[in-house]
Assembly symmetry: C2
Homo-oligomer: 228 residues x 2
């Protein structure tokens, strides 16, 4: 039976500079325990990895977003929805203009799964294993209004949790339910995070996890996508 979870905000970080060791900074808060799922907002990962490019105008920012795109899904005067080189479908290729120094924009990490793995290695070395790390960002979605936090990087936890959820009354068909647990963990974490970067990290404590997957596994191949 599932036990109670705690979702714990982790703040108090200084402004993150390129080259910052986020894993050590998070370990230094003294808040992490083995068994925790640690969810980290993409923005501070991008800053630590120096993923910033100059952009003085709106046109510059859009040009940066276009460079991050493998494909343009939709473009209007006010909106640019793309498929990034990672395969994520999101607004402005995840290029973020908030809470960065003036004159620059932050790009998504090159490989957020690797970022998560690196931070996890630091945390597990300092605190003990297992610790799962998820890098999250806030994406819009098809069909539904509003944005939710999803996992763009992950390490130390299976991306999905499967079980046999449905069979038809005559037992002809068995559709396996695959819960995108790293996305749900990212969403839970967002509820205590703060977009002004004061709370860029959250702990989900008490969630039993196993396996080791990547957020990349959640990118749905277009030919298998029945939802558009």
């Amino acid at each position: 039976m599932a036990s109670e979870l705690r979702v714990i905000p982790v703040g108090g970080f200084p402004e993150i500079e390129a080259g910052a060791d986020i894993g050590t900074m998070i370990a230094d808060t003294g808040l992490i325990e083995s068994g925790d799922v640690v969810v980290i907002a993409q923005k501070i990962v991008s800053k630590a990895e120096g993923r910033m490019v100059p952009a003085l105008t709106r046109e510059d920012a859009r040009a940066a977003a276009r460079r991050e795109a493998k494909r343009i899904v939709r473009e209007t005067e006010n909106h640019l929805i793309v498929e990034t080189h990672h395969g994520f479908v999101c607004a402005n290729a995840g290029v973020d203009m908030s809470n960065v120094p003036e004159g620059v924009v932050a790009l998504l990490p090159k490989d957020s799964d690797r970022s998560a793995a690196r931070i996890r290695a630091t945390l597990e070395e300092r605190i003990g294993r297992p610790i799962a790390v998820i890098v999250s960002d806030t994406f819009g979605r098809a069909w539904r209004i509003g944005q939710t936090n999803v996992a763009i990087g992950s390490s130390g936890i299976a991306a999905v949790r499967s079980y046999d959820g449905r069979s038809d009354p005559a037992g002809h068909e068995l559709v396996v339910t695959q819960i995108a647990q790293i996305d749900e963990l990212a969403a839970a974490a967002e509820l205590v995070m703060d977009k002004l970067d004061r709370i860029p990290v959250a702990i989900v404590r008490g969630y039993r996890f196993s396996g080791d997957g990547t957020a990349q596994e959640l990118v749905r191949p277009p030919e298998m996508d029945l939802f558009r």
Copy 2:
């Protein structure tokens, strides 16, 4: 600053029959406090509302799903993705073949926002206000593999939480970030729920909320949907 949340599983319910008063049953657990967000799996709401129809075969189940559809999004031998009369895009119109008596399938509630409002009225009368109620279901989505829990009904909480998240470096544009908080709360709740119906309810405690919206508000009008 955000404070810590608790996500608390609520189980121990008997098999839910048509006519069951779910609000009273949840109040009777003694676990709910004012200020709680109470997330309830759609299945028990459907059962209490008698939303079951006979279906002996796979073909019967699919026929039931088709009747719940306003529009077929995609149909293959093994998959049926529809837009329901409510406007939700999901597999099998949310028609559920698991954990129901043999020979029947469960449909989505007719109006899950009303179901949520009714349950909330009972809970607030018994326990005190404010209490928010969300009816959740597990939906697949475009672009990403796996399902996540989303809100299909809601009462006593705004559907979205807004803030000015992004402006471009030159201040030309201000895109308001709208977090679909009821979907994130549903996702957080799923982490402690149990598909075998032993844990059909979860409490999110410690989340500050206000406003009063519906899950229906999250249905994105097709003409405004840039994400397909």
